[in-house]
């Protein structure tokens, strides 16, 4: 069994101060869907927190994103991701869409997190 993929996670200062880890865990999903990403917090969230998580290419282009709402006491979160700019592909079959998603996802390099 291989170790789960780790995605470098750069967060803004306010999240650094909360002790956010430097990596997210990539959690593969069945049936060809995009993976989820999971984060284990070093200490429980002390208050409500809304943040946007983006997965970027090496060139910094955001490829996918998720909006996360943490409640006081949360010790982790796992979230599905939505690829950017897929609205033009509603006419494609699910399989064809997944081909596009896989190609885009292949460019993942790092994630960023910022408070909304």
């Amino acid at each position: 069994m291989t170790d789960p993929e780790q995605l470098p996670w750069r967060v803004e200062r306010r999240l650094v101060d909360l002790g956010m880890p430097a990596h997210l865990e990539v959690c593969p999903q069945p049936s060809g869907n995009l993976p989820n990403v999971r984060c284990v917090l070093p200490k429980p969230a002390t208050g409500p927190l809304s943040l946007v998580l983006r997965v970027h290419s090496r060139a910094g282009i955001p490829l996918a994103q998720a909006f996360i709402d943490l409640k006081p006491g949360d010790r982790s979160f796992e979230t599905p991701l939505a690829l950017m700019s897929m609205e033009g592909y509603r006419h494609l079959s699910q399989r064809a869409r997944q081909d596009v998603e896989r190609r885009v996802w292949s460019r993942r390099a790092f994630a960023t997190g910022s408070v909304t």
Partner: protein, 385 residues
Amino acid sequence: MLRPLAKAAVYNVARHTPHLRPRPLNLTFSVTYVCNARCKTCNVWKKRVDDLTLPEYRRIFDAIGSSLYWATFSGGEPFIRPDLIDIVLACYDRCRPSIITIPTNGLLRTEIVEGVARLSRLAPDAKIIINFSLDGIGPRHDELRGVPGNYERMRETYKELKAAGHPNVTVGIHSVVSQFNVTEIPALREHVRREFVPDSFITEIAEERLELDTIGCEITPTADAYRAVVDDLVADIDATPAAGLPALVQAFRREYYEVAHRTMVEQRQVLPCYAGLASAQVAPNGDVWTCCIRAESMGNLRETGFDFLKVWSSTRADELRGSIRRGECHCPLANAAYSSMMSDPSSMVRVGWRWITRQLFRPNRLRTASPLQPPAPAASSEAVR
């Protein structure tokens, strides 16, 4: 030129003042994803959305008002829309842009030649720039564009439009530098200079963009290969006489080519990006993007009653601007880069210095000419670089 420079200072302040959101100077309207070419560097033709209609565009232009200096109408192939010129004229009537740019693959000869004639006549106060795409010489262009006979058809359209001699129309050539043609660009530049004699020649690097669905496609040349192109283009700029405004345009382009290469090498936002502030893009379905590279929606105009300012001042728009300001992305997108250079004091100092030194040390044959006198036809390829 003075209007954008005056506004540039406002954008510079706004970039550091999150709640200050001046209207954009430079907007690109992608009017359709439909395209009659099948370029190796673009998959946009595979996308389908419900394009904004002419009445919807009119409402959008009403909301934007007269802040625009530069409006670009892109696609897909923009001339594939039968109402393209009506859309552009609606923008001209309501927003009064000084510069209107339309890129085209040149395949729809009648639509382009007749459409631009009408646009030139009905938008006399705008400088209209029609940029024809050319990525290779002859059959090589056809191969890269996926359309047999594209080169000849584009050339016929180009020649006919150029011959029309519309006083407010600039007819240019635009080349995409990709991993497929990066070694051919110097020869292509010479070919363009000799065979087309365009009013302007611009190149842009093929990059992975969400808009064009080229993420994960191997289209971008290596930084080393692109360096050779930049060296060739810069050497050509330096060797070509220019004065006045053309020299200023050249100084901007020289700066852009260096910024594009440095961005590739250093993999960071070398030039502070003003996308989402000074520039933005409206997608065919009404989504407002900071830029076509990120293609992240600030909001949808259809969903907000076509109220551009509501989208522009939304929390989501502020959040995207913050991401750009923090340097979370970087790219060499030309359209946004020119607005960013104008808003960036250090870039303007470099551009200004190059421009001034060219006035002082330009080649003898232009030394007697007025600084604002356009170059002679043979040298009008001054903009070819």
